[in-house]
């Protein structure tokens, strides 16, 4: 249902581009906003509120991802410029709850770009993600962090 609403939104944005005779990114973006407003007008007939909440969760996911990227880069930088590098790296196993291919890909990518973690491998049965950690005092806490952070956010945004 949500995918249908999103598709409608995209089609309406394309229609806006066709009518105004300009497919520039800015105009299409404006058309997208306009289309979502017009979808709001028929919110009784479609699951608009749910769609809006879902969209909000995707935006929150993207924002937290960028924040984590900045934090992790800063941490790597701080580790690198230490005169004497002392690390406790580890490869840990994170059990996966997400099952879809693109969800696993997204999670693995996000894990790679977040503080101190790098996804190395996924098990054959796609139930375990192997993550290399740069500096882990406690592996269990890191596993919890991934499961309660990104994985839950992905589940909320795409399920």
């Amino acid at each position: 249902m949500n995918k249908m609403v999103f598709l409608m939104n995209l089609l309406l944005a394309a229609a806006w581009g066709a009518i105004t005779g300009s497919f520039s990114p800015l105009n299409l973006f404006f058309g997208f906003i306009l289309a979502s407003i017009s979808l709001f007008l028929i919110r009784e007939q479609i699951a608009y509120r749910e769609y809006l909440q879902r969209g909000g969760k995707v935006v929150v996911l993207a924002a937290s991802f960028f924040l984590e990227l900045v934090v992790s880069s800063w941490r790597v930088l701080m580790i690198v410029i230490r005169p004497k590098i002392q690390l406790r790296p580890a490869i840990i196993a994170v059990p996966l709850t997400v099952t879809e291919d693109f969800e696993i890909t997204l999670l693995a990518n996000m894990v790679t770009l977040t503080p101190g973690t790098l996804s190395v491998d996924v098990s054959e049965d796609r139930k375990v993600l192997f993550v290399h950690c740069l500096d882990v005092p406690s592996p269990d806490e890191t596993v919890d962090g991934i499961k309660n952070g990104f994985e839950r956010q992905i589940m909320e945004a795409f399920r």
Binding site: S24, T112, G116
Partner: protein
């Protein structure tokens, strides 16, 4: 006035981006093994190059250039983790051991049983 603000902003972004890119290069030189090096290359490298590309888009002060810079940033964000993951995985499969400080290695158990299967 507007151009001055844009110039200053561009300069700041370029400098921060360059610092992170330099940090990534330093990390690749200083960290102990291939896995920890991938951390430096994938994170600090992504942020550094991303910031510099965005600065370029901002400097042009044209929407289509800026959108192209944003698209480039998106592709960097999509591809950098994948390549880091592939390099790390290839290194592990070929048999590069993690450095001796590594405390836990959950993969070693799996890979040994895999080899066992292959030999049978």
């Amino acid at each position: 006035m507007m151009t001055a603000i844009v110039s200053i902003l561009t300069g700041i972004m370029l400098i921060i981006g360059a610092v992170f890119a330099a940090g990534a290069a330093l990390g690749i030189n200083r960290l102990p093994d291939v896995y920890t090096r991938m951390h430096a290359a994938s994170k600090a490298g992504t942020l550094g190059s991303g910031l510099m590309v965005l600065a370029l888009g901002l400097y042009s002060q044209e929407w289509d250039q800026f959108m192209r810079a944003v698209a480039t940033l998106c592709f960097i964000l999509l591809t950098a983790p994948v390549s880091a993951h592939l390099i790390a995985r290839a290194a592990y499969v070929v048999g590069y051991k993690p450095c001796k400080e590594t405390e836990v290695d959950a993969l070693s158990v799996i890979k040994k049983t895999d080899e066992h299967h292959l030999q049978q």
